[in-house]
C-alpha cells in the first residue's frame, strides 16, 4: 500500500467521532494522575504500588456493584481499599526501612493475588450497564465525560484545600526538605504514609471509574498505570509551563496535571487512528515519558556541560 493510499484510507470523520471517548477516558486517568502527582512531585517518591491499586479499585467497584451496592458506595469502598494499599507501602517504607520504590513493587506484587481474590479467583469480571446502575459507561460518553470532569475538578479542589492546611503544608515540606521538616517538629514518616495513602486512594478511585466506563474489571488493568500516570503528570506540567511562563498557582498546576491525562489519551487516539501497531503503544508511551522527564536535565546541559566548555577553549578568543 502506498503512502497516498494509506492517507486516503484514513477517515477524519472516524477520528472526530472517537475523540470524545478518548477524552472521557483521559479525564478518568487524570484522576489517577492527581494521585501520582502527590507522591511523585510533592513527596518526591516514585510509588509503584499504583499499578496494583488501580486494578484493586476496579475490582472492588465491580464486585460490590455486582453484589447490589450503589455505584457511589462501591467507589467509596474502592477508595478505602486504595488508602489501605498506600498504608501498606508506607509502613513497609517507613517502619521497615525498605526503599520506597521497592516497597511499592512489593505491595503491587502482592496486590495481584489480592485482586484475584477480590474478583473471586477470576481474572476478569464484567458488569453490564444494562443490568446494574453504573455511574458512567462508554455507552454514554458525554455523561461519562461530564462525571469525570466533575470528579476531577472536585478532587483538585479538595487537594488544593488540603495542601493549604497545616497538615498539607507539613506534607509538602516533608517532600521539599525532610531534615528541615524534622527540625520543625514534623513527623516525616507519618507524612509519607499519609501521602502514599492519599495518592493510592485517588488511584483506586480512577480504577473504579475506569472499570465502570469499560464495563469490566481485569486483574491486568493496572499494568503500566504508573507510566501513564507519569505521562499525564509530565505532559500536564509541560503544557502548564508553556502557558504560564511565570509559574502558575497550585490549583492551576493540579488542573493541568488532570488535563495531562486527557492530552495523553488524545494522542493515543491519534496513534490508533493512524493505524500504527497498537503493540507499540507502550514503547511509544515510555519514550514520551523519558523525553519529558529528561527535559530539565537537557536544558541544564545546554547551558553548561563539559563538552561545551571544551569547545569554547578550542575557539580563538575574541
Amino acid at each position: 500500500m502506498g503512502f497516498a493510499e494509506y492517507l486516503s484510507s484514513l477517515d477524519p470523520q472516524a477520528l472526530l467521532q472517537r475523540l470524545p471517548g478518548y477524552a472521557a477516558q483521559g479525564v478518568l486517568w487524570g484522576v489517577m494522575a492527581l494521585g501520582v502527582y502527590i507522591t511523585f512531585r510533592l513527596l518526591d517518591l516514585a510509588d509503584l504500588t499504583v499499578d496494583g491499586t488501580f486494578a484493586t479499585g476496579g475490582a472492588c467497584t465491580v464486585m460490590l456493584i455486582l453484589a447490589g451496592w450503589p455505584a457511589w458506595a462501591a467507589l467509596t469502598a474502592a477508595v478505602a481499599a486504595g488508602l489501605l494499599a498506600g498504608l501498606v507501602t508506607g509502613l513497609l517504607h517507613t517502619r521497615l526501612g525498605i526503599p520506597a520504590i521497592l516497597a511499592g513493587i512489593l505491595t503491587q506484587f502482592a496486590l495481584y493475588s489480592v485482586n484475584l481474590r477480590i474478583m473471586g479467583m477470576t481474572a476478569n469480571k464484567s458488569v453490564s450497564v444494562d443490568q446494574y446502575p453504573l455511574l458512567l459507561s462508554s455507552r454514554q460518553i458525554p455523561r461519562a465525560a461530564l462525571i469525570g470532569v466533575l470528579l476531577a475538578a472536585a478532587l483538585t479542589a479538595l487537594l488544593c484545600w488540603y495542601f493549604g492546611t497545616e497538615q498539607g503544608s507539613a506534607l509538602r515540606a516533608t517532600g521539599s526538605n525532610p531534615a528541615m521538616s524534622r527540625a520543625q517538629g514534623v513527623n516525616i514518616d507519618a507524612m509519607k504514609v499519609l501521602g502514599l495513602m492519599l495518592s493510592n486512594g485517588a488511584v483506586a478511585l480512577s480504577g473504579g471509574l475506569t472499570a465502570q466506563y469499560q464495563g469490566f474489571a481485569d486483574v491486568n488493568m493496572g499494568r503500566g498505570a504508573i507510566v501513564i500516570g507519569l505521562a499525564a503528570v509530565v505532559i500536564g506540567e509541560v503544557l502548564c509551563a508553556a502557558l504560564f511562563r511565570r509559574g502558575a498557582p497550585f490549583a492551576v498546576r493540579l488542573l493541568f496535571v488532570a488535563a495531562g491525562g486527557v492530552a495523553y489519551y488524545l494522542v493515543v487516539g491519534l496513534v490508533l487512528w493512524l493505524r500504527l501497531n497498537t503493540n507499540d503503544l507502550k514503547l511509544f508511551t515510555a519514550v514520551i515519558v523519558a523525553l519529558f522527564l529528561a527535559v530539565p536535565q537537557l536544558q541544564a546541559r545546554r547551558k553548561s556541560s563539559f563538552r561545551a566548555a571544551d569547545r569554547k577553549e578550542a575557539q580563538p578568543r575574541a
Binding site: S169, R182, G185
Partner: protein, 266 residues
C-alpha cells in the same frame, strides 16, 4: 534549661570505623546562657548538638531540656523545645515553599498540625513585620520560594524561624561557616540580637576562635568527646585568643588543632 548527664555516643561500634564521639559528657546550661563551643575536628561538637536535638538516640546518659527528660523523644518531638540553624544554608528551609510558608511551618513547631489554614492572613502581617526587622528586604518577597534566596538570606530566615516561637533552646551548628565574611558578620550580629531580644538559651558551635570569644556569655572547648575547658563570667570576658590557645594546650596536653580554627581578624 539544658542538662546533659554522662552522655555517651559511639558511631559504627565494633567496626574499623568505630568512633567514640561523646565519652561521658556533662553539661548544664542555665536560662539565658549563650554558650559558644569550640574544638578541633572530631572533638564532638556537632555530636553534642545532635545528641541534644535527638538526631539519633544516645548510647547512655540523660538529656533534659527545661527540666523535662527528653532522652527517649525522637527529633521531631524534641523540636517543640528547640530552634536550630545548620551549617549548610540549604538545610534550614523548604526550597519549594514560599518564605511565608516556611515561617508558618516554624510557627507551628511543637503543635499538632491539623486542618486549619497553613498560613493565615493575620500571620502574613506578623511575618512581614518580623522580616522587615531583619533589614534584608525580604518583607516584600513573602511569596518567593525560599530556594531562590542567597545563602546569607536563607540563614537569616532560618534564624528567624528558629526564634519565631521563643524556643527553650537555640542550637547553632557553625551556622556562618558557609557564608562569606561580610555576610557571616551580618548573620552573627542578627544572632546576637535575636538571642538578646528573646532572652534565649543558646549553644553555638564555631570554628572561629575570635567569634567564640566575642560572642556569648560562656565558652566551652571540647576534645575527644569531653569538655576540657569551661569559661564564663569575667574570665570569659577578659579572654584573648592567645590565652585560649595557652589554656587549651594546658588542658589538652597538646597544641590546638589550628588548621581549622580560624584566628583571622576579618
Amino acid at each position: 534549661m539544658l542538662e546533659l548527664c554522662d552522655v555517651y555516643k559511639t558511631f559504627h561500634p565494633g567496626t574499623v570505623n568505630e568512633k567514640k564521639a561523646l565519652c561521658g559528657l556533662n553539661l548544664r546550661l542555665g536560662p539565658g546562657e549563650f554558650v559558644t563551643v569550640i574544638g578541633g575536628n572530631g572533638a564532638g561538637k556537632s555530636t553534642l548538638l545532635n545528641a541534644v536535638a535527638g538526631v539519633w538516640p544516645v548510647d547512655a546518659g540523660r538529656v533534659r531540656i527545661g527540666g523535662r527528660d527528653v532522652t527517649g523523644l525522637p527529633e521531631y518531638r524534641r523540636a517543640a523545645f528547640i530552634g536550630r540553624v545548620f551549617q549548610d544554608p540549604m538545610l534550614g528551609t523548604a526550597p519549594d515553599m514560599q518564605i511565608g510558608e516556611n515561617l508558618a511551618l516554624a510557627a507551628r513547631r511543637g503543635q499538632k498540625r491539623g486542618l486549619r489554614r497553613g498560613l493565615t492572613r493575620a500571620e502574613r502581617g506578623e511575618y512581614r513585620d518580623r522580616l522587615a526587622a531583619l533589614g534584608l528586604g525580604l518583607e516584600d518577597r513573602m511569596t518567593v520560594r525560599a530556594g531562590l534566596l542567597s545563602g546569607g538570606q536563607r540563614q537569616a530566615l532560618t534564624l528567624l524561624m528558629a526564634a519565631l516561637r521563643k524556643p527553650e533552646l537555640l542550637l547553632l551548628d557553625e551556622h556562618t561557616a558557609a557564608l562569606d565574611p561580610r555576610t557571616a558578620a551580618v548573620v552573627l550580629a542578627l544572632t546576637d540580637r535575636l538571642i538578646a531580644e528573646n532572652g534565649l538559651t543558646a549553644l553555638m558551635i564555631t570554628h572561629n576562635l575570635r567569634d567564640a570569644i566575642a560572642h556569648g556569655t560562656r565558652l566551652i572547648m571540647m576534645q575527644e568527646g569531653r569538655i576540657i575547658l569551661d569559661l564564663a563570667g569575667e574570665e570569659k570576658r577578659r579572654l584573648t585568643a592567645d590565652d585560649l590557645l595557652r589554656r587549651f594546650s594546658a588542658a589538652a596536653g597538646e597544641p590546638f588543632d589550628s588548621d581549622r580554627a580560624l584566628l583571622a581578624d576579618d
